[in-house]
């Protein structure tokens, strides 16, 4: 027998009671696909587990006129089958559908993916590109909301205190001109951890890219916006020539991000493949349209 205790709150109020007693040996358990491995590898035999998966409110995906609100304990398979997310957050759905296997996606949760803050996480770049906001519950029952980027500190590090829990992720519903895409590269095509990933959102009007966000993941300790790449294609007309500029700027971004890493040689070439995937996923139909006009 271990000296571990498991608390099983069934409501937010009960979760608050659990958080009040949190200490350094308290672990929030959601899908378990990362935490259970960590508990075993680190030979952790004592402490308190707070199971978030018994709280129905945290498993819902809801929406209003402005936001899609994903409960922290919603699984990736719930995300991939949600019609609102398919329509308004395609890059998150694409990222979620490529996480682990069917079994992992049936258990792993979006809140867990954020809290785990793995540098190669797939959902995080998509959430940054979508301007997602994260709502956190404190042990005094108040909540606060922060942009996803401010929650992630670095590899496996988040800004949460021990008596706090992620409860909701809100994605603003953009207008119909907003499109998004996600692409990843791992050591195999499926059931693979990203060696490099990219998420992008763009607003397009009459063949011109009016606004764009490009986020790179698994390149350094945390996912980040590639501002120089965004600048290279913003307010430009969609074309194949613009694709070349996009690709070259991404290579430069890789050079700048990991100048001393042994993986640089591989990643500066690999990014070209992801550049192509994401650019033509976003703008492919419009590139062809432009060509027809010529």
């Amino acid at each position: 027998m271990s000296n571990m205790i498991m608390k099983t709150p069934a409501s937010i109020d009960e979760l608050v009671m659990c958080l009040k007693q949190s200490d350094d040996n308290t672990y929030l358990l959601s899908g378990g696909t990362d935490l259970i491995i960590k508990l075993r590898n680190s030979k952790i035999y004592e402490g308190t587990l707070i199971d978030l998966t018994g709280i129905d409110d945290l498993k819902q995906i809801k929406y209003n006129a402005e936001y899609i609100k994903i409960g922290a304990a919603a699984t990736f398979n719930q995300i991939t089958s949600n019609t609102m997310l398919i329509k308004h957050a395609k890059c998150l759905v694409q990222a979620s559908s490529q996480i682990g296997s069917t079994q992992i996606r049936n258990a792993a949760t979006l809140g867990g993916n954020i809290a785990n803050a793995f540098a190669g996480a797939d959902a995080i770049p998509a959430l940054i590109a979508l301007d997602a906001m994260v709502t956190i519950l404190k042990s005094d029952k108040t909540t606060y909301t922060k942009p996803i980027d401010e929650i992630i500190k670095g590899s496996r590090k988040n800004t949460l205190y021990k008596d706090e829990a992620i409860i909701e992720i809100s994605i603003p519903i953009a207008n119909d001109n907003c499109i998004s895409a996600f692409a990843k590269l791992g050591s195999r095509s499926r059931v693979t951890i990203s060696k490099l990933n990219i998420a992008a959102t763009a607003q397009v009007k009459d063949g011109t890219i009016e606004a764009v966000k490009i986020v790179l993941g698994a390149l350094g300790t945390k996912a980040f916006r590639a501002l120089s790449v965004e600048k290279a294609i913003e307010n430009k007309d969609i074309s194949e020539a613009l694709y070349t500029a996009f690709e070259n700027e991404l290579v430069k971004q890789v050079d700048e991000a990991i100048p001393n890493r042994s993986s640089l040689g591989y990643k500066r070439e690999a990014i070209r493949g992801l550049a192509e995937d994401v650019y033509f996923d976003l703008f492919g139909s419009m590139v062809r349209k432009v060509k027809c006009h010529d």
């Binding site: 571990m4 079994q103 992992i104």
Partner: protein
């Protein structure tokens, strides 16, 4: 800590350690050793069981997270001494060699067929993407599932012709 759950149609109320995973309780406490542990980190899928209709790695879920849930293990497939059509098809198609991946492979396929009785080959491949098999090369496993789908459709098609 008491765990109340239903495994293979039977209600259990057992004492389980807070740190025990579902696979530990299934194998050690309930003696259901059909479920295998391979990698212990969600890569191989040998430990796959069905929880409330969904295929899940039993090595990556804490036993107490399954409180109040319905779990199916490979032992549930055989009914009244007769193997499930999926098991028979695995045998007929040579989809079993060393057998270690088989319980997990069967439960991933079963979960698919419970939700989608008429899957495409792509859907079958996706359902077993989290199950590693180093013997058969997957083709025979996929053929076994396809055969079950085909046979389950056959009677209704005959009815239609009549």
């Amino acid at each position: 800590m008491i765990l109340d759950f239903n495994v293979n149609g039977r209600d259990y109320s057992i004492e389980a350690d807070a740190r025990a995973r579902l696979i530990d309780v299934l194998r050690e406490d309930l003696g259901l050793t059909g479920t295998k542990e391979g990698c212990g980190e969600g890569e191989c899928g040998a430990c796959t069981v069905i929880i409330d209709g969904l295929a899940v790695n039993s090595c990556l879920v804490m036993a107490h997270q399954t409180r109040g849930k319905r779990i199916l293990t490979v032992e549930s497939l055989k009914q009244d001494g007769e193997l499930d059509s999926l098991q028979k098809s695995f045998i007929n198609n040579g989809a079993v060699q060393c057998g270690y991946c088989t319980p997990g492979m069967l439960m991933s396929c079963k979960a698919l067929l419970m939700r989608n009785p008429n899957p495409t080959e792509h859907e079958i491949r996706e359902a077993i993407e989290g199950n590693l098999c180093r013997c058969t090369g997957y083709v025979k496993i996929i053929n076994a599932v396809k055969e079950v789908v085909k046979e389950s459709k056959a009677p209704s098609e005959e009815d239609h012709h009549e």
